[in-house]
Subunit: 145 residues, 2 copies
DNA sequence: CTCTAATGGTTAGAGCTCTAACTGTCAAAG
DNA sequence: CTTTGACAGTTAGAGCTCTAACCATTAGAG
């Protein structure tokens, strides 16, 4: 039958992604940073000395983008970059104490956001959803992390 | 037992949304326009005379954003705007023949993209996924269309 | 050892998004 | 009929993203 669907699966997917972003922004707004900066900072706290290329990969973005993002964070003293002694091309990035302090709780807040969004689903449904989405992403390019 | 999940549901959701965007960009790049312009143009072909506020709503964006987006399209002669005769505040937007011609096939291409992404799932699984996502979005703010 | 290709980053330029402040128009109350 | 508030849209300023062009450094081939 396949009646024309008013809201496709991909519409719903984009919508949910958008909602997560918006919810996250509400938490982060007080810190005077952006979601992207929050993700980067959080990642650097978990992975001190990460190289820019890695950051570009896990955020599914470009090296150019990471470059300007980190420049902004560095300008504000939230991040530090030092060239790798073994390979000067690579720049290792670290969250400064200020940066780490600023982002403390971000991870937790995002987890809370996720939980709020998924609240309508019970554990079984979440497992099903996770399985289905994994099946889809398995055939996609680019790893998530 | 709730072992720490390496890739959360929301991670997967964002990933899929990103993949859709990228795939769409591949199609659209030859037209020298952006995804956003493509969506707007496509919407205006389907809904001639739409008002900017509506466009902002369905794209889950701001009036300011629509304003500049349409300015770009208008500058290139792909869109026309005329004030509503009954309410001069409102500006009704129309895709020009050139604009409509440019975007012809976009909708179909996007549907094809969606189908490719969802290829790993059979009809039953898609139905389940759609149901689960709908359950989630039912509790979210902002309608999709 | 040298030449070439790959690799990590950066810059420039353009588009999108947001917030905040502002214009002009319409509508409703008094 | 005026005043006040809601509403549609715009502009300015800043951040993010992308592509394309470009540096510097490193690795590999010969």
């Amino acid at each position: 039958m396949d009646a024309p669907r008013l809201t496709t699966i991909l519409d719903l997917v984009r919508w949910i992604g958008w909602a997560q972003r918006k919810a996250g922004e509400d938490w982060i707004r007080s810190r005077e940073i952006t979601m992207e900066q929050g993700f980067a900072l959080g990642y650097l706290v978990q992975n001190p000395g990460a190289i820019q290329r890695d950051l570009a990969e896990i955020t599914r973005t470009s090296p150019a983008s990471v470059s300007s993002l980190l420049q902004g964070l560095e300008r504000r003293g939230l991040v530090e970059r030092r060239a790798d002694s073994a390979d000067v091309r690579s720049k290792r990035a670290y969250a400064t104490p200020t940066g780490a302090e600023l982002i403390a709780g971000f991870e937790a807040a995002m987890t809370a956001v996720d939980d709020t969004i998924l609240a309508p689903l019970d554990q079984t449904e979440r497992a099903t959803l996770h399985a289905l989405l994994t099946k889809v992403t398995a055939e996609l390019p680019q790893p998530t992390r």
